[in-house]
């Protein structure tokens, strides 16, 4: 009798599990079905054969700034793929690429990216856009970094004054950049004035704002969150503060489960002139200035 019960229960569980899968399917059948957002009927696009899901591993800044909310529906409508965006730090996004867990990467840590390409895990790396990093901090500027001639000088002043600096501490692109800058300033950031938040850019900005500390941020996230922050830009425009984004495919030859066609389609989409125009105008209406500057086709010196 007990066995019967167990079998019956197993059947129920199996049913429940399978019951979930078909429910999820209809969405994947029509990845272009943006009924709610686009009023006009969308002309049928050439539906891609094979796997329709593209896993995009990207940095939090592209998601938190709202850029992907504009670009992803456009891509899905154009190509018929459905994008699964996983927004993590650049370090994790690259790690996902190295393990073949994603199909395409949109990240901003050129040095680390090159290593991934050299290892053979990523191919077709293309320059997409840039913006810049900025150093923000409390208006009072306790370390008096405003007017510094270079980032190195500003970082040295912060360390000398032992003024609070909030680091991402999460191996993200911004974190990598920040550590590069400390290295260039020949300072080993340690001590009670240097705090690692271990969270994304948005959260780190909130922490810096609440605690009255300095932090390094990409401009896009700062502008998007500015309304909640009591932080001002204290240093910008230094050459070392350039923030460059590349898109690349995860190598399907190395990882057979990777969606090769989907990854390629996304790379092509990101460097397409039309997309580049969208990137250029993104954020102008809301923030009065562009958040990203399109770079596709320009010589890639990074």
């Amino acid at each position: 009798m007990k066995k019967c019960l167990v079998i019956a229960l197993c059947a129920l569980v199996a049913f429940a599990l399978f019951g979930c899968a078909p429910k999820a399917q209809p969405q994947s059948k029509s990845p272009t079905g943006q009924e709610s957002s686009s009023k006009e009927p969308v002309p049928p696009v050439s539906a891609p054969a094979g796997n329709k899901d593209v896993i995009l591993a990207t940095t939090t800044s592209t998601q938190d700034s709202g850029l992907l909310d504009v670009l992803i529906p456009l891509f899905e409508q154009k190509t018929g793929y459905r994008v699964k965006t996983v927004a993590v730090g650049t370090g994790q996004a690259l790690a996902m690429g190295e393990r073949g867990e994603a199909d395409v990467l949109l990240v901003h840590a050129p040095e680390a990216e090159k290593k991934v390409v050299e290892s053979g895990a990523a191919i077709n790396r293309r320059l997409v856009m840039h913006n810049d990093f900025i150093i923000v901090g409390p208006k009072e500027d306790p370390a008096k970094i405003k007017g510094s001639r270079s980032t190195v000088e500003a970082f040295q002043k912060i360390a000398q004054a032992r003024a609070l600096f909030v680091s991402r501490g999460d191996d993200s692109g911004t974190n990598k950049k920040e550590l590069e800058l400390w290295k260039a300033a020949q300072i080993e950031p340690k001590g009670s004035w240097y705090q690692e938040s271990g969270t994304g850019m948005g959260q780190t900005l909130n922490i810096a704002s609440e605690k009255g500390g300095y932090t390094l941020t990409d401009r896009a996230t700062y502008l998007a969150l500015k309304k909640n922050l009591s932080l001002v830009i204290l240093l910008e425009g230094d050459k070392s503060l350039l923030n460059v984004y590349h898109v690349m495919q995860v190598n399907p030859e190395k990882f057979p489960r990777v969606n090769a066609a989907g990854g390629k389609a996304f790379v092509d989409f990101m460097v397409d002139p039309e997309t580049q125009k969208v990137i250029e105008s993104f954020g102008k209406d809301k923030f009065g200035e562009p958040l990203f500057f399109p770079d596709a086709g320009k010589p890639d010196i990074y």
């Binding site: 979930c20 850019m201 489960r257």
Partner: protein, 232 residues
């Protein structure tokens, strides 16, 4: 404080306007967490009943594991389920990573120990004489279990509420195995995390209110059923 008011206003607006995205996220949350609770019920109740009654060597070890599991950290579950479901993992060929099914699996893992532990505790509160009495009256095993289940049904209801509460409010596992994909695996908790990091505190608060109202409504219905025949 005005942020809370803003959040409330926004929540009302979002609910009244029937924002399709919020509705979709809410329905997905209900479907995923409901299914996970159902699965945990199917596994946890029999396991709890069995553990309460059975005598075998090492039972304390198992019970201890179940009791520890009642506080299983969702992020750890998320990590383990991710390792199983990744393309490079043992179940990679199923292609379940970043799907609602993946969240259901992870949440079920979180809820099973909760349901098991509470069911077990409920049965163990019954008078041991009941067992002798039922068996002495010549009940078949099926009848015996049926009577036990009837006796502990309120305890099981409490287990359902606790299980649902633990999964509908967790964010670590949903984020890890679901990926918070817009329109596909975005549930209320992961949406809240995203809106906070976007700096949209009012929307985050609004979604928080939706989640709390949802949880309260479900729990309220279950509570009414549970308290219908109160004896104290």
């Amino acid at each position: 404080m005005d942020l809370v008011v803003q959040g409330l206003v926004k929540a009302f607006r979002l609910l009244l306007s029937g924002d399709p995205e919020v509705l979709e996220i809410t329905l997905l949350t209900l479907r995923v967490s409901g299914l996970a609770t159902l699965i945990s019920l199917c596994l946890g109740v029999p396991l709890g009943l069995y553990l309460a009654v059975a005598r075998f060597r090492g039972r304390e070890l198992v019970v201890g594991a179940v009791n520890t599991g009642m506080g299983l950290p969702p992020t750890v579950v998320g990590l383990w389920v991710s390792i199983l479901l990744w393309r490079s993992g043992p179940l990679g060929m199923l292609g379940l990573m970043y799907t609602p099914t993946a969240i259901v699996i992870a949440q079920a893992v979180i809820a099973v120990p909760v349901v098991t532990g509470l069911t077990m505790a409920a049965v163990q509160q019954l008078s041991p004489k009941l067992r002798l009495q039922v068996l002495a009256l010549g009940a078949s095993p099926l009848q015996f279990w049926w009577i036990i289940i009837r006796e502990v049904r309120f305890g099981i209801l409490a287990a359902v509420m606790a299980g649902l509460g633990s999964v509908i409010s967790e964010v670590g596992a949903s984020m890890a195995v679901g990926g918070n994909v817009r329109g596909y695996t975005r549930v209320l908790t992961t949406a809240i995390v995203l809106e906070v990091s976007k700096g949209n505190f009012d929307i985050a608060l609004a979604l928080g209110f939706v989640l709390m109202v949802l949880t309260y409504s479900i729990t309220y219905i279950l509570t009414i059923v549970q308290q219908r025949r109160r004896r104290w």
